[in-house]
Symmetry: C2
Subunit: 413 residues, 2 copies
Amino acid sequence: MNEPIVISLLDLDFYKISMGQWVFHRYPDVLVRYAFRCRTPGIPLAEIIAEKELRQELDHVRTLRFNNSELHYLRGTNEYEERMFKEAYLEFLKDLRMPSYELERVGDTYCLEFPGKWSEAIYWETIALAIVNELYYRALMVRLGSFERDVVHANGVIRLCEKLKTLRDHGRVMFSDFGTRRRFSKAWHDYVVRTLSEELPRTQFIGTSNVYLAMKYGLMPIGTSAHELFMIRAGMCETDEEIRKSQLGVVDEWWDEYHWGLSIFLPDTYGSDWFLQNVMTEERARTWKGTRQDSGDPIEFGEKLIAHYEHLGIDPRDKLLIPSDGLDVGAMTHITDYFAGRIRVSCGWGTNLTNDLGLQPLSLIIKPVEVLGRKLVKLSDNVAKATSGSAEEIERYKKIFGYTSTFEQRPLY
Amino acid sequence: MNEPIVISLLDLDFYKISMGQWVFHRYPDVLVRYAFRCRTPGIPLAEIIAEKELRQELDHVRTLRFNNSELHYLRGTNEYEERMFKEAYLEFLKDLRMPSYELERVGDTYCLEFPGKWSEAIYWETIALAIVNELYYRALMVRLGSFERDVVHANGVIRLCEKLKTLRDHGRVMFSDFGTRRRFSKAWHDYVVRTLSEELPRTQFIGTSNVYLAMKYGLMPIGTSAHELFMIRAGMCETDEEIRKSQLGVVDEWWDEYHWGLSIFLPDTYGSDWFLQNVMTEERARTWKGTRQDSGDPIEFGEKLIAHYEHLGIDPRDKLLIPSDGLDVGAMTHITDYFAGRIRVSCGWGTNLTNDLGLQPLSLIIKPVEVLGRKLVKLSDNVAKATSGSAEEIERYKKIFGYTSTFEQRPLY
């Protein structure tokens, strides 16, 4: 066995920690289940990745603990708010042992699930995705000849170099690395982030979502929250009205936890239109820092967001738009230029940043699928991204949230 | 200091050994002088390469000896003729210590010369060129940032990959590595040759001129003779008639040494037209294997050569044409396709093979400039490549050989 892929529990996305504390403070013992899925069709994952290796990697993660320096780093994190991580939470992290997983080969792919207390199972997502990704590309690389492997790496370097050239020509484009979950390998991710940190000013390369790399290279750790908060909180409810109310609850509890520092809306879980009308009311829209756009059309959504702010008498130029759905340099440049002078744009750049070496990237996801034994629903602003145990549940949620979107596009990554 | 660049006396071009034995057998004590020159204008070599480093590298070569395994390799060389290297010569090599050099900074470049007995000084050429080249590119690389260096290497890999693709699409193109003297670095040269040996069949990648790499990778060592034989032998003569006769002498003495195995004409030292008419008479043309084309236009020369063979009643399809002047894949493909079915073509591929990473290659040469205190002349089939101590001597040689070529083109490399 090579050195394990994940050698630190900080090798995950910052939002797992920021959400982790929120969950720890509010819903620590709620039982949830996360499930892995490969959205890219026709990939026989179980033929490519050996089950034994996958188990070894996942098992190794369960031997890891947050060490003293890592806890110091979190305790010292002040980029969003002084002492944003409380001692009780850091104590909890100190004792955390990653909960067990369920892995089974089904046909030519894997059923990989993470059941457990929300406060513990939450940390698996980006860790397990990074592991599956790396094992997959490692297997592809082993099948190549030595020179072909060099060509793959060289392609990665040249493409990164071209990205840097374009970004230097478009100094207005601001972005962060969001690529942990889809990285070609840990080593490549490290190389990309180090190179960005050396080659671009911090006013352009803002930081990385990967806490381990943020710590290693002294970068700003980036991240706020994900759909799972909205999905699981909705799933905990009985009536339609409770479900609707839960969405406001998530947002207000998030403000209570982190205040202005991490006040980035994520409006698309059950359709952004409903969210803008019902959650982004004047007071919240005025106090919150900005909005992340993770599905649908970023230009269309940005226009809608600006119109919403203006309708409320709020100057959108003080607000932040964070596109994060399948971006590349062209899209980042286009969105940034398009909204220049109208709203601030800072991009979250994932797959195309950390897995662009000429091999097809995989669209792997790990999503919460159950809470308290009940199936969870996500709609998003892209019909193709909707998930649920049943069509009935999706229809129910569409009604609850007055969902009318017809935008449909297979996820790029 | 890094590991020295040249760590084996076999890290030179095979023709230095094949010519070396010929010289050892015939003119061992003739005093000659080789001189280094950079033909690329505007390169302040002495500003870029530290004199101390250059001396260290050259001095290190003088500590080297042919070791027992290297002598075994030469003794066992049977690709051209059984036991082509005689015991007396191998004994001589065993005791060889590279003669001293003269190095002086002149303005922003170096005067670097190698005086001595022909049988000893002959080995410096490709060794010293490889050293100057590597020190030059090493200095350029040190000035780059870490990522820029990665990009240079990645460019090298991608360009090599594109070369391989084109060569696979043109399986008829046959070539050998002639790139020792102009290589980006020893490590890169090694990488290129190893990759070619793994990626292409031996019917296409015939071998390498570098004896060390031929030995390391079990490849065919490639090379015959160079202009220095014709130049120095002419320089040893007094009268015009003796000079003309010396050219036939070189050719016949070469046949006496190696017979059919290394019978490749090099016709352009004083103009190929004279050579074809006066040296490549029917018997020689019929017995010799082929001809190397090292200056002028390869298509034009090939046509002339084919016409010459046909005029003599010899089937050119049994003969070999070896273009070796500033080739790239495009030129090799064009020449090979152009002459398909008319004459066999096998290319000698140098600078563009071993120094194509995006940095400008240098046209560095080391040529014999004196014999017995007399300046040497070379004309070639390219007026821009003519060299001599004086214009009068060039004119004299032009008259002697009825030289009328007007082809003029700055050497690509």
